[in-house]
Symmetry: C2
Subunit: 424 residues, 2 copies
């Protein structure tokens, strides 16, 4: 990593690294050493710690907690180290990525590699545009109807949680959206049989939220639009790049980056090019896909550092072997946790139908709900954080995205069993 | 700084820090030391390198270039070092700022301090909301008319450059904007006398771009709206926090962060609260100021890391003594460069009227335009980068925002004089 200081590094080492007593022995020697020049110097170990050679995510630094937040969420430790090493000066650019002109050769190489790696990960065909935008998925709730249909067009929303419902409500400003199914009355615990849901014959698109972050309901396969000229649109914010997806089944996929692929502030849109270019006249220029597609996401200044971070994550996912390998790890992690819940004899409960349980967000309640506060307090002592369920569901929720190490799940499961033993 | 590695730090130091030969002497000793455990460890010197104790920006690391880009632009070196030191683990949170829940106590403390420090810097009254948004100033080109007026309302645009012109064009979608003055025919070299410009009697607002990044035209004082119920709206993207501003003269101030106060991906809106709450029905929820004001910029996931970076910059500006001190430095830097241009006997020329020359963006041409390519090439060899003028103006442009060290201007001026001596 890059270490940059106006003090001497060996004195730093003496002051810090409590796990590393060997360094204390340096003191007598180091104090006899001539002091280095006072001016700053820079150490970069992007060479000594190439991202692909870093340890896997099965373990992580003892200094870090296990962060089960729903998003922003834990990032791959090796990606954070790489970003830290290059934050002050990126390669031979003489500047930070945050300081680069978005039209310069350095940033162009960053965004072009990010797009190429994402295309490789998801096998995105050439007739789909990949856009790196701002404003989160919530901005897309408006951009999608503004770009894909006219005010009188009918569109369908299959609502399996709060995010799908929010997307539907926003669309009411720009077209004639219809909720063709909602799980709200059951508090969102399932995905319906697609055959049993009647789609509007002329719907311009069918919208789903592929993974409902709050309720933990995930589509395992996808409905086909009834209208042969309609397309499937999916909000994949919370399971983006967590498994392989056949992009050709969709007209548009969108995802906020801050769960699986980067920091907040970047929203990725993958849209079939033939759908671009028909935005309603009232569409703000920044919500018009054509503007961004024609300018390769560089119409105005993009969220450059966020895109750079997404690129580091894409690179890491490819080096892990791609999304088939990533999915295997996610299935292993999720199974461990769901099994612990199901085998607790009802002490822990997950309300979601087993067939559509999310690999990313695992909500669960305690049979003795009066114990929930203690559960959270004791978990926090074990560095297991952000486990409180969303206020609209209550109970607990463990978000276990790509970057959550297996060790985090193992520690959580061990804690849950111990907690149960003490409170059963 | 935080140094974290799966290798031993003394070996790191031996491999790197070329400017620091003292460490080579460590080798014999260090090789006799017992190796530390293989597991990662973390070193943090946010304590040993408190931001306020870092050297001023009069000099900077020899590893860095002088980056005159118009935005994204150079950031304060000490802010970059602070961000690097805390990137992997922020304080006692056990996680990176990029991983924090935006609703958790850690990030709340970050965004609340950022807002408080910005309010202190600009002396922002309580009856103004401060919003941290996404989408850049370009998104505000639509949000402003959508929030401040109805479709039939007239609004005035005083156009002193390309950005004001773009803002006007976007407003045509949402109201009846009128260009009451444009410098386009003169290629944007001045600001008109306000008395000579006729404002629309009922204009809901008068829009200006306080500093035109491309043409280098900066308002030194501000027009007063003719309509007693109208307000002044200013795009301050490229001179935000470069000098004190009387916020009470404005109904709304907006600024993309990526020139003076942070990385790209954050847009700050300072708006009088009484103007909030009347958005047009077609306003996307993410462009509705009321949504963001009611939720303290946390309606959805904000660009958290960018806001954190802005907060570090605000903290640094306060520690420099506030905007009066910052303005003094900016005047000194800009004078040095403009004087070099004006004293070159026409070898260099700045087309902008002296009374409104920007302290932030300094465009200039060479009398012998055939020398421009050589100028840029030779400047780059001296680590003076991003000096090419905008394609719509040609020539050169030096953007010298708050974070450009005086040393950068001095080196540029010395180079310009040497180049002239060799080519006059």
């Amino acid at each position: 990593m890059a270490a940059t200081a106006s003090t001497t590094p060996h004195s730093l080492l003496l002051q810090k690294s409590p796990q590393n007593h060997a360094f204390l022995k340096l003191k007598p020697n180091s104090t006899t050493l001539p002091l280095p020049p006072a001016k700053r110097f820079s150490i970069s170990c992007s060479a000594t710690l190439p991202i692909q050679d870093r340890p896997s995510l099965q373990t992580q630094s003892q200094d870090r907690v296990f962060n089960f937040a729903a998003g922003p969420a834990t990032l791959p430790e090796n990606v954070l180290l790489k970003a830290q090493s290059d934050l002050y000066i990126w390669r031979d650019s003489g500047m930070s990525v945050m300081e680069m002109s978005h039209r310069g050769k350095h940033f162009r190489s960053i965004i072009e590699k990010a797009e190429a790696d994402l295309r490789a990960l998801l096998n995105i065909p050439e007739d789909y545009a990949v856009l790196f935008l701002q404003g989160g998925a919530t901005t897309q709730f408006a951009a999608i109807p503004l770009n894909l249909c006219q005010p009188d067009d009918t569109v369908d929303y299959l609502v399996t949680g709060s995010w799908g419902d929010k997307a539907f409500k926003e669309a009411q400003k720009y077209c004639k959206p219809k909720v063709i199914w909602s799980g709200k009355s059951e508090n969102y615990i399932r995905v319906p049989s697609f055959d049993g849901v009647e789609q509007s014959p002329n719907a311009k698109y069918l919208h789903i939220c592929a993974n409902e972050t709050i309720y933990g309901v995930e589509f395992k396969d996808y409905p086909v639009p009834r209208n042969p000229n309609g397309v499937l649109v999916a909000d994949m914010s919370s399971n983006f790049c967590s498994k392989p997806v056949d992009v050709t089944k969709f007209g548009l996929i969108y995802a906020g980056a801050q769960k699986n692929v980067g920091p907040s502030g970047v929203c990725i849109v993958i849209v079939k090019k033939e759908l671009i270019g028909n935005a309603q006249p009232i569409t703000p220029v920044m919500l018009d896909y054509k503007i961004h597609a024609d300018n390769n996401s560089l119409y105005n200044t993009p969220p450059a550092f966020g895109i750079y971070m997404c690129g580091l994550v894409f690179d890491d996912l490819l080096k892990q072997g791609g999304l088939h390998e990533v999915e295997k790890k996610n299935i292993k992690k999720a199974s461990l946790l769901y099994n612990a819940i199901d085998e607790s004899k009802g002490f822990y409960r997950c309300p979601v139908e087993k067939s559509v349980r999310s690999l990313m967000n695992v909500p669960f309640t305690l049979e003795k709900s009066e114990l929930e506060a203690d559960f959270l307090k004791e978990a926090a002592k074990e560095k297991l954080l952000e486990l409180k369920g969303h206020r609209s569901v209550g109970g607990m929720r463990a978000s276990i995205y790509n970057a959550m190490p297996l060790a985090g799940i193992e520690k959580l499961v061990a804690f849950m069993k111990d907690f149960q033993a003490r409170h059963a």
